[in-house]
Amino acid sequence: MTRTLADDSQGLARPNPPPGPLLEVRDLSVEYLLERAVIGAVDHVSLDVAAGEFLAIVGESGCGKSTLLFAVAQLLFPPAAITGGTVTFRGRNLVGLTEGEMSAVRWKDMSVVMQSAMNALNPVLTVGAQFRDVMRAHGAVGKQEIAQRSEEVMRMVGIDPVHLKSYPHQLSGGMRQRAMIAMAMLFTPELVIMDEPTSALDVVAQRSLMAQIKDLQQRFGFAVIFVTHDMSLVSHFSDRLMVMYAGQVSEVGPTRRLFDAPKHPYTAGLMDAFPSIRGPRVPLAGIPGSPPDLARPPEGCRFAARCPKVMERCKASDPPAYQVEGVDVRCFLYEAGGPR
C-alpha cells in the first residue's frame, strides 16, 4: 500500500485559508547577554506565517533558528532576551506579555514540540497524566472530557490509546515523538512550532512522522513552523522555506523554487553539500570555512568569508533583502534584479 503525495505543495494546501498572516514577526532581535560579550543570535528577522501554512526554517547549528522559535513562543530565559522587534500573533503583540497572559495563548492557540521528547516528557508520570496536566492548566476540567480528548489525540497520531497508561521509557523514540505531537494537538491550536522533532529518529521513522505531521496539518488546518538542519527532509512537506545564516535570513521563498533554483550562494552551497542517493556520483565540496563568531560579527555580509561569489562591496556593507521572482534574497548579486 503506497500513498503518493503530490509533488507540488499546491495540492497539499488547506482549502480556503483565511486571508492575512496568522503570525507576523517584524525586525526581531535576540541577544545573549553574557558577562564578557553580547551575542546577537537573531538579528532583525522578519517573517509571516499564514493560517494553515507550513514554513520550514533551515540552517546550521548556531544560525539562530532555535533561538528564533523560542523567541516566537516567548520561551527565552536569561541570558537570552528579545532586544527589539515584535511578534504579532492573531493581531496581538506577544513581546512583553506576562507569563499569565502568555499561558492563555500557549497550548490553546500555539503549541511547541521540542527536539528531544525523551527530555521534554516527564519520566515519572504516565503519558495520560501529562495530557491531563496540560488540559487542567488550560481550562478543561471534566474527567470524562479529558479522557475522551486524550484518546482522540493518541489515535490521531497513530498510537494505541492504551499507551496513555505507559511511562515515557516504555515507548520507543518514534512513539514518544508522536505522543509529544499528540499533546500539542490537545486544544487543536492554530500554530504548532516544531524544533527538529525528527532529528533523533531513524530515517524510516522520520519519513513516517513527517507524513503524519503533514496529514494532521491537512486535516485540521493548523500552521506549522518547522525548524531543521536537514533541508532535504522538508523538501516535500513545506510550503515555504527560510534559510538562516549567522542570525539573519539569507533567503526565503516557496520551497520548490528554492530547491530548483537557489539564489543565495549559501543556499546553493547547502544544496550541493548533500550527496544524492540516486543519479551520478559527483564530487562535492561542501562549504569551506565555518560560520562567524556572533559575539564579533564581521563587517558587511556575514557569509562573505565563505562565499564563492564574494565581491569587494560585500565586505564593506551588509546587503538588504531583494525581491526576485517571489523570493527574498539577501545578496548584492540581486541588486538590479538578477545575478550579474
Binding site: T4, E60, S61, S232, G286
Partner: protein, 348 residues
C-alpha cells in the same frame, strides 16, 4: 580466502583478489540483560561474516540498534565476540594478548569516534594527543621526527598549516576541524584500517562533505582502509566501495556500494531507499502501517528479523533464518524471497 559469499570458500568476483586485510567469520556478540529472576540475552550482532580489503572503504549502514557500532567495537577489541572470530592479516585477533601486541593492533586498527566535542582532551593543545600517540606507537622516532610527522598528518587531513593548528586548544577549533584532529591522530599511527563510528553525524551538513573527502583521500593517498559506520546511505554511497546493510543484528545485504543502492535485493534495503529524503526525486510515502520501529532482539526465535515489517513474508521467513545468498556478482542478500534479476518491490 573467501568473500561474503553464502558458501564458504567461494570468492565473489567483485571483491579484489588476494588476502583480505580483515575478515570476520560468524561473529556474534550477545549481552546479558535483566536480573537473576529473568535472565535474557540481547543479540546485538548475530553471525556476521564479511571482509575488508586493502585500500577499501566499507560502510556498515543501519538504523539505531542494528548492531553496526557493536561490529566496530568487536573489531577494535573493545568487546570480545560471543562466538566467531576476527582475522587481521590472516591471524585471529583473539590471540592478541600481550601489551605489545595489543598496542600494535590498536595502532593498526585505530578508532575515530562520533563526538568530536568529547573525544579530545580540552585542557591540552591538540598537539598533545597526536604526539602522545606517536610516542606510544612509533617509539623509533626522535622528538623532532615526531613533531614533523604530526605536522604531516595534520596537513594530510586538511588542517593547514599543520604547524600552526597543532598549537591550538580544542575549543579554538570548529566541530569539523576537531573531527579532522581525530583522523590525524589515527593516521599518525600508520594504520591499516581506521574504524570510524558515525564520524560526521554530529557535524553540520556544509562541513560533512569535507570530512568524507578526507576519508577518500586517506584511502587514495595513504592506502588506508576505512570501516565507515553510518546511518546515512547517501553519504555511504558518496565515499564507499562496499556496503553492508544491517538490520536487528543481522547482515541483510552486502555488495559493491553502487550496486546495492541501484539494485537493492533485500526488502529492508528497498525500504531504507524509499524513506531516504531526496529533494531531487518525487515523494513516495511508504505504507502508513510501517512506522519504522526496528525490534530489540531479545532471545530471538529463528526466522528473518524483518518479517514483521515485510509485506512479502512467507511461512519460511517465520521458521528459518535466511542466510546470505549471492544473487549478483559479489552482491548478496539474506532473504528467502529475493531474486537475482529484479527487486522484490516490497515498498513501491
Amino acid at each position: 580466502m573467501t568473500g561474503v559469499a553464502a558458501e564458504p570458500g567461494r570468492l565473489p568476483q567483485a571483491e579484489p583478489g588476494g588476502e583480505p586485510l580483515l575478515r570476520a567469520e560468524g561473529v556474534s556478540r550477545h549481552f546479558k540483560i535483566g536480573n537473576s529472576a529473568s535472565r535474557k540475552t540481547l543479540h546485538a550482532v548475530d553471525d556476521a561474516t564479511f571482509s575488508v580489503y586493502e585500500r577499501q572503504i566499507v560502510a556498515v549502514a543501519g538504523e539505531s540498534g542494528s548492531g553496526k557500532s557493536t561490529v566496530a567495537r568487536v573489531l577494535a577489541k573493545i568487546y570480545k565476540p560471543t562466538s566467531g572470530e576476527v582475522y587481521f592479516q590472516g591471524k585471529p585477533i583473539s590471540g592478541i594478548r600481550s601489551r605489545r601486541d595489543r598496542l600494535r593492533y590498536s595502532g593498526d586498527v585505530p578508532m575515530v569516534f562520533q563526538d568530536p566535542f568529547s573525544s579530545i582532551n580540552p585542557v591540552f593543545r591538540v598537539s598533545h594527543g597526536v604526539l602522545r600517540a606517536l610516542k606510544l606507537h612509533r617509539p623509533e622516532l626522535s622528538k623532532e621526527q615526531r613533531y614533523a610527522e604530526a605536522v604531516r598528518v595534520f596537513d594530510a587531513v586538511g588542517l593547514n598549516p599543520g604547524a600552526e593548528v597543532l598549537q591550538r586548544y580544542p575549543h579554538e577549533l570548529s566541530g569539523g576541524q576537531r573531527q579532522r584532529v581525530g583522523f590525524a591522530q589515527a593516521l599518525s599511527m600508520r594504520p591499516k584500517l581506521i574504524l570510524a563510528d558515525e564520524p560526521v553525524s554530529m557535524l553540520d551538513v556544509s562541513i560533512r562533505i569535507g570530512l568524507l573527502n578526507v576519508m577518500a583521500k586517506l584511502r587514495d593517498d595513504e592506502g588506508v582502509s576505512i570501516m565507515y559506520i553510518t546511518h546515512d546511505l547517501a553519504s555511504a554511497r558518496y565515499v564507499t566501495d562496499r556496503l553492508i546493510i544491517m538490520y536487528a543484528g543481522h547482515i541483510v545485504e552486502t555488495g559493491p556500494a553502487e550496486d546495492v543502492l541501484s539494485r537493492p535485493r533485500h526488502p529492508y534495503t528497498e525500504l531504507l531507499l524509499a524513506a531516504a529524503p531526496d529533494p531531487r526525486a518525487p515523494l513516495n510515502v511508504s505504507s502508513e502501517a510501517d512506522i519504522g520501529e526496528p525490534p530489540r532482539v531479545i532471545d530471538p526465535a529463528p526466522g528473518c528479523r524483518f518479517r514483521w515489517r515485510c509485506p512479502l513474508a512467507i511461512d519460511e521467513c517465520h521458521k528459518v533464518t535466511p542466510p546470505l545468498r549471492e544473487l549478483l556478482p559479489g552482491h548478496s542478500a539474506a532473504c528467502h524471497v529475493a531474486q537475482p534479476n529484479s527487486p522484490t518491490g516490497a515498498f513501491q
